[in-house]
């Protein structure tokens, strides 16, 4: 039904477009000077029909379901809902709905079948009502728009207002989504902190998110100190950056400044392929290749290495991050004006000196941007660490030990059957909140550093 309604709206609004355009063309043919060209008169009709009517349809569809549910329930025979709580009423409504869809279990009471029939009927009526209203409203707007076609009518301004409104709406979507995410995290975190003291979470050195499943079960009470988990994230991130930053920077500098153009034409796309490898494949690589290699290498030196090391997960993550850093650095170096490069070379600077003293400082904001993005990715990266890092939170900074990360813990806490009223599940939201805050702080901090030390050209 909705598809038919939308199709009808489309037809009517296209009709309005041609009506208005034709009217405006006729005006112009009579020798009148128009403020807006005929195309804008047509677009004005089209947009001012579609936009409000689509809003109307969306609102109608939002309210239609709940209203019909309510009518259905209130139309039931007196006494059939007596002594029922909310859950019981919901159950009856669900049964009526499933009967209306033709799925009948057992022998339902007659009044339920009647209610289901009425439910179907109300939906049909609502659909036709919507269809009628949309036709009337859109035809009305088309007529109104047609009557406004005149030499001095500013159709172009109208179109510009409507489109800029649409653009504004689209740009706010991202902002409101972010606010929604923050709100969701915040509320669940607050519920977590009602159950677990905030000091335990922030300063606790133990992370054992087990809780008794039954009242009488003898189990550990569960410890929710986030420090060991966060330390694991930190160790893996540092390992990843130790690999990614130098390799990424140097490869970008080589490709941008020293490589012959033919090598560059081949090497740059190949490097960027790394960015397209799915992280789960990196995960395979970490557990099947890197971790055993590190382990046997450690064994040959007589160093005990655990099977899931932070080093393996971190170094594979570092490989994943190389293209981020190198492509940001490459872009930043390419953006430095050629005149600066020429200026340094003309003073007798070598290429290396030019890069180091002139190009690099000028490119710092872009480079730091790339590194920041890499850090955010490293902290938030999940798949590689789920596969290659451990599950047990241990308070260590030794990269040869097994560590766990914030993201791994969030995944394990939320996997499987979960109930959203115990601290174990809610802890995931608190961890997510902290992850969000940490990346935010890093971003703000780095922006300030960049602004202070950048060498701005022009």
């Amino acid at each position: 039904m909705t598809a038919i309604v939308l199709l009808a709206l489309l037809c009517v609004s296209i009709l309005g477009y041609f009506l208005n355009r034709q009217a405006a063309t006729k005006l112009r043919a009579n020798g009148t000077r128009l403020h807006s060209v005929p195309g804008y008169h047509g677009l004005y009709s089209l947009l001012s029909t579609i936009v409000p009517v689509v809003v109307l349809i969306v609102l109608w569809l939002i309210f239609q379901g709940p209203l019909i549910d309510r009518f259905t329930m209130s139309g039931l025979p007196a006494g059939s809902l007596d002594e029922l709580d909310t859950g019981g009423r919901q159950l009856i409504l669900a049964e009526i709905k499933s009967i209306s869809r033709g799925r009948i279990f057992g022998n339902p009471e007659v009044w339920k079948v009647d209610a289901a029939d009425r439910y179907v009927w109300m939906h049909a009526v609502a659909g036709w009502m919507l269809f009628g209203i949309v036709i009337v409203a859109s035809l009305g707007i088309v007529g109104l728009a047609r009557s406004r076609v005149a030499a001095d009518f500013r159709a172009r301004h109208g179109v510009e207002r409507i489109t800029s409104g649409l653009m504004l709406f689209c740009s706010t979507i991202a902002i409101f989504t972010t606010l929604g995410i923050i709100a969701a995290l915040l509320f669940e975190s607050i519920r977590f902190f009602e159950r677990v003291p905030i000091t335990e979470f922030f300063f606790g050195l133990n992370w054992e998110p087990q809780i008794p499943l039954r009242e009488d079960q003898i189990a550990a009470e569960g410890a929710f100190g986030w420090i060991p988990v966060f330390l694991g994230t930190l160790v893996i991130t540092v390992v990843a950056l130790f690999l990614a930053v130098p390799v990424g920077l140097l490869s970008a500098i080589y490709l941008n400044e020293f490589a012959p153009s033919r090598l560059r034409a081949v090497a740059k796309p190949v490097l960027e392929v790394l960015a397209g490898v799915p992280t789960v494949v990196y995960g395979f690589f970490a557990i099947l290749v890197v971790a055993p290699a590190i382990r046997s290498f450690g064994a040959s030196l007589g160093i005990p290495v655990s099977p899931n090391t932070a080093l393996a997960a971190g170094s594979v993550m570092g490989i994943m991050l190389i293209p981020f850093i190198s492509s940001f650095t490459d872009d930043a170096l390419s953006a430095v004006p050629k005149s600066l490069r020429d200026g340094a070379l003309a003073l007798g600077a070598t290429r290396a000196e030019t890069v180091l003293n002139v190009l690099f400082p000028a490119a710092i904001p872009g480079i730091v941007g790339g590194i920041l993005l890499a850090i955010s990715r490293a902290i938030g990266e999940t798949m590689i660490v789920v596969m290659a890092a451990g599950l047990i939170a241990s308070l260590t900074i030794n990269p040869l030990d097994s560590v766990t990360t914030v993201t791994v813990q969030i995944v394990t806490l939320l996997i499987g059957d979960t109930s959203f009223d115990n601290p174990k599940t809610l802890a995931a939201f608190a961890l997510g909140m902290m992850l969000f805050i940490v990346t935010l702080v890093i971003n703000v901090f780095a922006l300030r550093i960049v602004r202070k030390y950048r060498e701005a050209y022009e």
Partner: protein
């Protein structure tokens, strides 16, 4: 007064040859940009290259310090000798060459560093100063020679990009002289400047002639007449005429030169 002095000095041009170019050809890919140019550029003289846009004068200038090396598709043939050394000989290090042949560009291009660091950059990479005091002295001397010391002496540690266009160009000249070059190449150094800044830079060029061989590319014939002792006229990649500035502007030999300086071509 200044003009009188120039007239007098014009007659006493040093005869020593600093740069000798023979049969220079430059190709950009398939384009033949410079066709068989031979020229002798004298020491302690200002030599002006004039000619219509695209005639190859900047390209030829950039051959002299091998800045064309930075353009992948550029190819240079022929001989260029500076003080008898072949510039394009494989044994010549372009880095050392460029330390000896300084260059000022059309658009001021100060580094996004402090005024002090802009000037000190060349001396630092070439190790011209052993102590901080020596470096300070080089910076001050260079800024004084570029006639900008008084304007910037109180803000040496502010960014060079914050100066006005004319100041930036003089800063770039100071930066070029700080490495103690023997030849100074200037590629339309005044084209982005207002008349006052232009006059300052022109005075400076005249001043620099005492120590350097200066080669200046310019679109302004008045400027060539004001600052140079020798003038070369380029047209479509050819060196058409190369003579004393006074003669080329008053009594050109080639009809193309005459057409250009009287404004009929170019």
């Amino acid at each position: 007064m200044m003009n009188d002095m120039r007239k007098i000095e014009r007659d006493t041009v040093a005869s020593e040859i600093k740069i000798q170019a023979r049969g220079v050809q430059v190709f950009y890919g398939d384009t033949h940009a410079i066709k068989d140019v031979s020229v002798d550029i004298l020491d302690k003289t200002v030599t002006a290259f004039i000619g219509p846009s695209g005639c190859g004068k900047s390209t030829f200038l950039r051959c002299l310090n091998r800045m064309n090396d930075t353009i992948d598709i550029a190819r240079v043939e022929g001989d260029i000798h500076i003080d008898g050394d072949d510039v394009y000989d494989p044994s010549i290090d372009p880095v050392q060459l460029r330390a000896k042949v300084g260059m000022v560009f059309q658009k001021p291009n100060p580094f996004p560093k402090s005024i002090y660091d802009n000037i000190a950059y060349g001396p630092r990479i070439h190790g011209l100063a052993r102590t901080k005091a020596e470096l300070d002295e080089i910076v001050e001397r260079s800024l004084r020679r570029a006639a900008i010391w008084d304007e910037v002496k109180d803000r040496l540690h502010e960014p060079g990009t914050g100066l006005s266009g004319g100041q930036q160009q003089r800063l770039c000249i100071a930066r070029a002289v700080a490495t103690e070059p023997e030849v100074l190449l200037m590629d339309e150094p005044c084209s982005a400047l207002d008349p006052i800044a232009t006059a300052q830079v022109e005075d400076l060029i005249d001043e620099l002639r005492r120590n350097y061989s200066v080669v200046i590319v310019t679109h302004s014939m008045q400027q060539a007449a004001r600052v140079s002792q020798k003038t070369a006229f380029f047209h479509l990649g050819n060196l058409v005429e190369y003579r004393e500035t006074g003669q080329i502007f008053t009594n050109p030999e080639d009809p193309r030169t005459e057409s250009y300086i009287t404004g009929r071509i170019g």
